[in-house]
Symmetry: C2
Subunit: 141 residues, 2 copies
DNA sequence: GTAATCAAGTCTCAGATAGAGACCTTGTGC
DNA sequence: GCACAAGGTCTCTATCTGAGACTTGATTAC
């Protein structure tokens, strides 16, 4: 157990995913995968997508479904998702005007991986809580 | 196309995932799945996990692999992941002391869903970029 | 005619958070 | 005793988040 990894770039089985991306010509700062993951991994966007997975919803319905989101953050999350083609915003010409948000096909295609993550969280939440408790205990030594 | 969704909670095929969680007794503010997803979905943690998936690494090696992370954020991300039981921090009694970070079994178990998300991003990045361009165009009308 | 209401936002401001980078600690080589 | 290396911490500023007041434009209420 005394052997230290040398940090030699030629040592590992793979040169790391980030290095691969760099080899593909992506600067790490501009890596499109990172951009997209940042979007997808943002605090509220996941929850908005999960809500819309149950069917199209209107602005205030989303506000009610996500009781602890502010109007501002909901607007911003919806704009981000619309901008990335994950949902479609439809304005109905009623009085007063109604706005409906619905997943696009691209948005639907994301739900598989996203629900995979949600399932992981559901399955392993007890393990995570146990680890948290253990960490607290180890800190109070 | 004039029919507006009524927002009737009894109308949908499912009462929404969030509503299900509420029915299970989770206040939305304290929903453990949300807590865990927030952790897992934080900006840097995903990238740290991906780097460690290639094998254990030391602090400065991670710093080199993620050129645009600051020391402070790396420290914080590593502490968060350790606290949630996703990685293990090992101090070697050398001079100067070396610290190695490695995924735990729990961390490894997360890689499947996480790589699913990365694959989605890789597969659909062109579609996302196309949507972004289209959105820009539609805004400049 | 004026006021209140509703949907779907926008605006402002305070407080929390992220990032840059200087500094710290312990030990070795020169 | 000076510089350097590892693995951080500390401080300061800039950005972002969230609460909630305000907007807009048409409809009904008085």
């Amino acid at each position: 157990m005394t052997r230290l990894p040398a940090g030699n770039p030629a040592a590992g089985p793979r040169p790391s995913r980030l290095a691969e991306w760099q080899a593909m010509g992506f600067a790490p700062q501009a890596c499109p995968i990172r951009t997209i993951l940042d979007q997808v991994a943002a605090k509220w966007t996941v929850l908005i997508l999960l809500e819309l997975h149950d069917g199209p919803k209107r602005f205030n319905a989303l506000l009610r479904a996500l009781p602890d989101i502010s109007r501002r953050m909901l607007t911003q999350g919806l704009r981000d998702l619309e901008q990335n083609g994950l949902l479609r915003r439809t304005v109905f010409d009623t009085r007063p005007p109604a706005v409906e948000y619905a997943l696009t096909a691209l948005g639907e295609s994301l739900m598989g991986p996203l629900l995979g993550l949600v399932d992981w969280a559901t399955t392993h939440r007890e393990a995570v809580f146990a680890a948290q408790r253990q960490y607290q205990d180890s800190q109070s030594d």
